[in-house]
């Protein structure tokens, strides 16, 4: 969309500068004329001059200084790693047309680079998919299952079935958005696999109001949103805990949001780790570019958070609450959408384009 020239600070400064020069010249001419005519009553030209000067200062503040400060703030936040959309806010003024184009270009470059990082996990799955023919994998797993059944090893058969379902969901499904029900089913499958390892040491409960269940289960969300967080809760939360670990998935919706809380009563984390984790989730741009995130852990949360940001906007995402020896809650905030067409974020196409799951 072509912007009006007054949208740019350079034009505003130029306009105000010309006005200031013209008015100063006019004022000086008036003063000179009054002086030449020998008039000593200069009050009116002075008052007019003061009013004009005050108006000029006010205009300069509203039109130039304030937008400039806002732009400066946005740039600082961007440099601090906050968001990728922070620099080009369509409602705020830009320096010059060229600087605006440069910002857009920068964002474009950032977006594609970010997406490469964001979808690293998916890319791994993709690589797996390319290397292994999914049907070969499923058929092999099915063969193992039937062999196990023939041999009377029911638990091995069940485990193989769960593993096949998990792989089928993870690497075969090409849609980006899935229903909450499908995602929950995958979580249950994943949990089933983990239970073979942990046995009675691990419990999972899913809480959802009965009257809202049907509606909530039909909402759409990015694929593999809950399972990586559940995996995190098991590995970092309950696995290190002595005794039984309880995992809970709470689903509820408010007017415009779907809230999913995945809780564990594991070891939790101290205040500093928690603050760092939330900062990484908040400063998504920093998380994209910083290499430390790969070594620090918690990549699953950052990954899920970034996908949500890209698909639905930065007002949605993840937030972590935790206390040492009490447990950790990860709250996922999503928009309540029933179909893929409702995604409004312009980055959607980019996300689709690169992930291609």
């Amino acid at each position: 969309m072509k912007k009006h020239k007054w949208y740019f600070l350079s034009y505003r400064v130029l306009f105000l500068g010309i006005c200031a020069v013209v008015l100063t010249a006019f004022f000086l001419t008036m003063l000179l004329a009054a002086f030449v005519r020998g008039e000593h009553f200069l009050l009116i030209p002075i008052i007019i001059g003061c009013v004009l000067a005050a108006t000029g200062v006010w205009l300069a503040y509203i039109w130039v200084i304030r937008p400039y400060r806002r732009m400066e703030e946005r740039m600082k936040l961007f440099l601090d790693g906050y968001t990728t959309s922070s620099m080009s806010n369509s409602e705020e003024a830009q320096m010059t047309p060229t600087s605006e184009m440069m910002t857009h270009k920068l964002e474009e470059i950032m977006s594609s680079a970010e997406l490469l990082n964001i979808n690293k996990r998916q890319a791994q799955y993709l690589a797996l998919q390319n290397q292994i023919n999914p049907h070969f994998l499923y058929n092999t797993l099915e063969s193992i299952r039937s062999e196990a059944l023939i041999a009377g090893l029911v638990s091995v058969a069940d485990m193989t079935e769960a593993l096949a379902s998990f792989f089928r969901y993870t690497i075969s499904n090409v849609e980006n958005l899935v229903s909450v029900e499908e995602e929950l089913q995958n979580c249950k499958t994943y949990f089933k696999i983990q239970q073979y390892r942990f046995g009675e040491r691990l419990h999972l409960s899913i809480e959802c109001k009965e009257e809202e269940k049907e509606e909530i289960y039909s909402y759409r969300l990015p694929k593999l949103t809950m399972q990586p967080i559940l995996e995190n809760s098991i590995i970092h939360g309950t696995e290190c805990k002595i005794g039984t670990g309880h995992l809970k998935i709470c689903l509820e919706c408010t007017g415009k949001r779907l809230l999913i809380r995945i809780s564990d009563d594991g070891v939790g984390m101290d205040a500093k780790t928690l603050a760092d984790m939330n900062e990484r989730l908040q400063k998504s741009a920093k998380a994209f570019s910083a290499k430390e995130s790969e070594t620090k852990g918690g990549i699953a949360l950052v990954n899920v958070n970034n996908r949500i940001h890209l698909l639905f906007g930065e007002e949605y995402g993840l937030h972590v609450y935790s206390m040492p020896d009490v447990g950790t809650d990860v709250e996922i905030t999503l928009p309540t959408i029933m179909s893929d067409r409702e995604i409004k974020n312009e980055n959607r196409n980019l996300a689709y384009g690169t992930s291609d799951l």
Partner: protein, 497 residues
């Protein structure tokens, strides 16, 4: 489906470059009573400011009734229809109840005010919550609880959908809190949400649907009321508290066969009706007024008022003069009410010492001795500081050490833990314990029992101006309220029974 009344999404708020709220996320649903326990007070005032007014954010989003009202990208400096009720009332004292509720309301545009009409309008509001307050009564004639109800009604009438209640248990008595709980639940049922800020997790758990813990300007964990908090609930400070109470429980001292240091006998004055209490040297007694009425009268007696009948005995003699330094009073919020910012630290410290050392103001030697003696305790650097520049902990040190230097026989502390954050509360215990170690009796005047019981040897509950129940330490287990550290008393005494 419950809608959201307030949603703060990853809010980072700075004041003068300092981060006050850090990645703060909180959701309050319609008709929900949401508890907030600030472990330290860092960022609490900023939160209250942000709730009332949409100030510029460093980052984040604020939604009120599902509408975006504040965001980091742009701010409009608008106000939200949210009421904050705290111990300092914001009602106009010289106006009537009806005027406060209806006339001092945004959007009231009438030129002619008919008191009868306002009275009629107010009546249904009072009836539905089962309260009887005279619509024409002036605010300064009302009790603290009635003032609170008026503020609550004012918020309801103004159409505010979120009401913030800050530390209300410090000025509302226990019996009134029960009534208040019913009122809150009634309005919650009508879709009004409450943010209940309290210093005690037990209290929040008792009254709220959900409770969040706030540390250093961020919420670290939320608990649903129905959730069982694991036994490992071990906030650092709570561990300190537990250790403290255990120490107190193990320290037993017999007060029998000793002379009472302070005693009231059939005392009548103001709201007091036949008040008989007795405290021994080195004993810590908690005086809990269930109606929150007698404390002002009791303090007035120490400040020179004469009782209607009965007497106060101090070390066996009738207490007569307010200049008697054997009784000391530590007022409510002492760091604000008992310090003189224009006086130096030393002058503040030695303020009550002249009865012990006549030449304290003229001789530098005495003051030098004090600095030498108390330097290690208070910190050498504080003596050169301006009083207003001191930290909260240093201010408490100053007030309590001043009383220690006064060397009284009995100290009355009016709600010593009011508005103090967790670490400060723990420090106040240490300071009170210094009195007890010097065999000075401590009487804590409390409205609610949280914190106060930790040091107590005895609890006296007062209702309608006279002693209703007396509990010794081993009987705390029988208290009919949710006593903090009840489990510790149970551990010690239940086994014996």
């Amino acid at each position: 489906m419950k809608t959201e009344t307030l949603r703060m999404e990853r809010v980072t708020y700075k004041e003068q470059g300092n981060v006050c709220l850090d990645n703060f996320s909180m959701t309050i649903r319609t008709g929900e009573v949401f508890g907030l326990v600030p472990v330290n007070h860092y960022g609490l005032n900023s939160l209250l400011k942000l709730l009332k007014q949409n100030l510029p954010l460093h980052y984040g989003y604020v939604y009120y009734r599902e509408k975006l009202v504040n965001q980091w990208k742009r701010h409009q400096n608008t106000t939200n229809r949210i009421s904050v009720i705290q111990s300092k009332s914001c009602l106009a004292e010289d106006l009537s109840v009806a005027d406060n509720i209806f006339v001092l309301r945004a959007g009231f545009k009438k030129w002619l005010i008919k008191p009868q009409v306002l009275q009629k309008q107010l009546q249904p509001f009072l009836e539905e919550i089962g309260m009887k307050i005279d619509a024409n009564a002036y605010i300064d004639e009302l009790s603290a609880f009635e003032c609170f109800v008026v503020e609550l009604l004012k918020a309801v009438v103004s159409g505010n959908r979120l009401i913030v209640l800050v530390d209300i248990s410090t000025f509302i008595s226990e019996s009134e809190l029960v009534k208040l709980h019913e009122i809150i639940r009634y309005y919650a049922g009508k879709g009004i949400s409450f943010l209940y800020i309290t210093a005690h997790f037990e209290e929040a758990k008792q009254r709220c649907d959900k409770t969040a813990l706030m540390v250093n300007g961020q919420i670290i964990k939320c608990f649903e009321t129905r959730e069982n908090i694991p036994d490992t609930f071990s906030l650092e400070s709570v561990e300190d508290y537990d250790r403290w109470v255990r120490q107190q429980l193990s320290a037993t001292e017999e007060n029998q066969n000793r002379q009472a240091v302070f005693e009231t006998s059939r005392l009548y004055y103001g709201s007091m009706r036949d008040l008989n209490i007795r405290v021994f040297p080195g004993e810590c007694m908690v005086l809990q007024d269930l109606d929150n009425k007698i404390f002002k009268d009791l303090i007035a007696l120490f400040q020179g008022e004469k009782p209607d009948s009965g007497q106060i005995l101090l070390q066996g003699n009738v207490f007569s003069s307010c200049e008697d330094r054997r009784i000391a009073i530590i007022q409510e919020l002492p760091t604000e009410s008992m310090l003189f910012p224009r006086m130096s630290y030393m002058d503040n410290l030695c303020f009550n010492m002249d009865h012990r050392f006549k030449r304290v103001w003229t001789t530098g030697g005495i003051r030098k001795s004090i600095i030498n003696e108390y330097g290690d305790l208070l910190g050498k650097e504080v003596f050169q500081c301006k009083v207003e520049k001191l930290s909260q902990k240093q201010k408490y040190d100053l007030v309590y050490t001043r009383i220690l230097l006064q060397n009284p026989k009995v100290v009355f502390c009016v709600q010593p833990f009011k508005s103090a954050e967790v670490s400060i509360r723990s420090h106040i215990w240490e300071l009170l314990e210094r009195f007890l170690d010097r065999n000075i009796a401590v009487v804590i005047l409390a409205v609610n029992l949280a914190d106060s019981l930790a040091l107590a040897d005895k609890l006296i509950r007062i209702k309608h101006g006279k002693v209703q129940e007396i509990y010794d330490k081993e009987e705390f287990i029988k208290l009919p309220v949710n006593t903090p550290w009840l489990y510790l008393y149970q551990e010690k005494y239940a086994k014996n029974e």
